[in-house]
Symmetry: C2
Subunit: 408 residues, 2 copies
């Protein structure tokens, strides 16, 4: 008998019909002899609607009260799903974050889980009940309700799996797994059977969009195996777990891309110590996340410095950089909001030379100009023009032979 | 400095505009130097919508899960109202039933309050915060969420007022107070300035519809003064409190009516001991509330027995009575679902003869036939035809001179 943690996202419980579909799926897992703990998100657009209501009330809603408000969405889901399962004649019980002892810090709207007292869940499982657990929420030391921020229900599921020593954490979504590239872009993209935490982290942050970094990090730290799969299909999905030897034979695992990037360039910055700090500290202070940073080779004591930010941060970044430009005596400040990033990711890269060269060659042959390059041990990223990124993903995907059957 | 408990119903917090209106009203109370504890119901139709969702999931939803679901409505209200007040620059904090220590028994969907630990509220008040409290909910000994049933938010408000020894409990509604008759029916009905708990209990159960019995009983037991008033007007409403001497000068305080009644008659029941129990125990076992019971004078060893039930219980009552009819050897079972009840209520009746006679006379002069009569120390009730009840209220209201200015 295994202990299975499942997590269903908002689109999987958006209406009564879908809710019943999930109930049946959960019951099947129970009838197969497993102990079942099921984490659910708020139904469909509930969270968006609540945020909208809050903004009608106050332009900058108080964060403690925002958590009080938003946590009701998941509470509705767990009640409805439990009713559905009990209505089908099976034992089940719902728990809020508070009830199952999910203790967090006090950072409202983006709290971190501090500890989980799983005793109530264990007792319910022992009584043969399916446990339906509210995702995304906990309580802090003052017993105030907190929420975990974006992707919070995934984090709840992984944290529960870790606390309960579950055999697997199944994350149900509307895609059948993690792909070698976005299947909407690359028609012959292949579903990846197994992927390492490290690769998944790179793919998540690079925009594969299936799992958020935070839950993958948590899983990696606690050795929780994640199975990413579809609510609406029986197909096996993608297993995310520790690196295994044979994984390293695959040089490139997948190609990710991100379209919401913008590039800023400070031209002819005097090349002396402390300049970089003078530029990037004000951005950090303004809460702007800088992604890639490229500094050209110095010419006659000056250098061009380019970096990318989220497109939504561009205006704020320009406002921050204007005084900085004068302070560091740069000759100009340019920006380009029509850029995108394409990245090849793979554990196998570590021991294989020539990956970057192969990628650059594929892009060159397709006539795609590379504007910026950044590499790590397990990825190569290139910034290209936004109009060319779809083509870039296709040619790189092809160059690494990802559409072919996986070699084992 | 007074401690004021206010309660706003669902229609008072139905949208962002109304929510802000309530916020301003609360702030005004605070600025006047009062400590404020504000109980709110779920916004507008939220509870109805949640019930509907539950019924789509399961025809008979599990009651524990129903409470888990329904309690989210009030939680949304307290979060939004607190945001509104904080958005206007004042200190406020919201508490769920669980957070403010409202402990109930475990009767899901109709729980009774067992105790209130007001320490969190007192601490927040000491910090100068307005406390926004979720109505209708608590938790039982197992830390499961419970709800208090119909009118539950009123009960929460009165119970908090009792626990905190508040100076007054203001119940805000969409009418300006308790009237001598339904103002939609009797155009010159007068708002009652002060009314005793006992009279209010009779008026509430008789259909005045402003406060539910349970909260009035609770207030009476704990000596909590209730001020029933309108959210949308500055006008003073009706004070509900203990009987005071001068109240007894007013013979009749108000005329109530109830249209959702049905009458059943068992004809020619053998008149012997134990018959009544044999008839009414099965009804009680079926959860049917019987209101008036009239037994005619016995003739030749048999009697006609009539009683009224809620119209919505009529089918169930008939099903219960069919076998009972045979068992008690009654000659027939008749029913009439076109009946209504009109009642005159007043503490002063106790010491004034002739109230019933005056009422019967007024009805007779209007050509209204009285089908059943029942009296208590402070009320006289008559069952009349449904088509005549509006007219009955008018003539009785007039007969007791209620439209005139109150004599003091």
């Amino acid at each position: 008998m295994a202990l299975v943690v499942q997590k269903y996202g908002g689109s999987s419980v958006a209406d009564a019909g879908k809710m019943k579909h999930v109930a049946k799926r959960v019951i099947r897992g129970k009838l197969a002899g497993n102990d079942m703990v099921v984490v659910v998100s708020a139904p469909g657009k509930t969270t968006d609607n609540l945020v909208e209501m809050a903004q009608l009330i106050s332009p900058i809603p108080d964060e403690r009260e925002m958590d009080m408000l938003l946590s009701t969405g998941e509470q509705q889901s767990i009640a409805l799903l439990t009713m559905a399962i009990k209505g089908m004649g099976h034992k089940a019980i719902s728990f809020t974050g508070q009830q199952m002892g999910i203790r967090t810090d006090a950072s409202h709207t983006k709290a971190r889980i501090v500890s989980i007292d799983g005793s109530k869940i264990k007792k319910a499982l022992k009584e043969g009940k399916v446990v339906i657990a509210a995702g995304f929420q906990g309580t802090d030391a003052a017993a105030d309700i907190t929420t975990l921020g974006r992707g919070g229900s995934d984090t709840t599921a992984v944290a529960l799996a870790a606390a309960l020593k579950a055999d697997v954490c199944e994350i149900y979504t509307d895609v059948t797994g993690v792909y070698t590239a976005d299947p909407r872009l690359v028609s012959d993209a292949r579903k990846i059977d197994r992927i390492s935490y490290e690769e998944m982290l790179e793919l998540a942050s690079l925009g594969a969009g299936v799992l958020l970094n935070r839950s993958v990090e948590f899983a990696s730290n606690h050795g929780v195996k994640i199975h990413v799969r579809s609510t609406f299909s029986e197909e096996e999905g993608t297993m995310v777990g520790p690196t295994m030897k044979d994984m390293e034979k695959v040089v490139v695992t997948g190609i990710a891309h991100k379209k919401n990037e913008a590039k800023l360039t400070l031209a002819k910055v005097p090349d002396k110590p402390g300049i970089a700090a003078g530029i990037f500290k004000p951005l950090a202070d303004a809460g702007i996340n800088v992604d890639m940073i490229i500094q050209n080779v110095s010419e006659q004591g000056t250098t061009d410095l380019s970096f990318t930010v989220m497109k939504s941060d561009l205006d704020k970044a320009l406002a921050v950089m204007e005084p900085v430009k004068n302070k560091v005596r740069a000759k100009g400040l340019r920006y380009d909001d029509k850029v995108a990033k394409v990245s090849a990711v793979g554990i196998g890269m570590r021991s294989h030379a020539g990956v970057a060269a192969k990628m650059f060659d594929a892009l060159a042959k397709a006539g795609i100009n590379i504007q910026m390059i950044s590499t790590s041990e397990i990825k190569v990223s290139c910034v290209v023009g936004l109009a060319q990124v779809d083509e870039a993903v296709k040619v790189v995907h092809k160059a690494f032979g990802l559409a072919k059957r996986k070699k084992k």
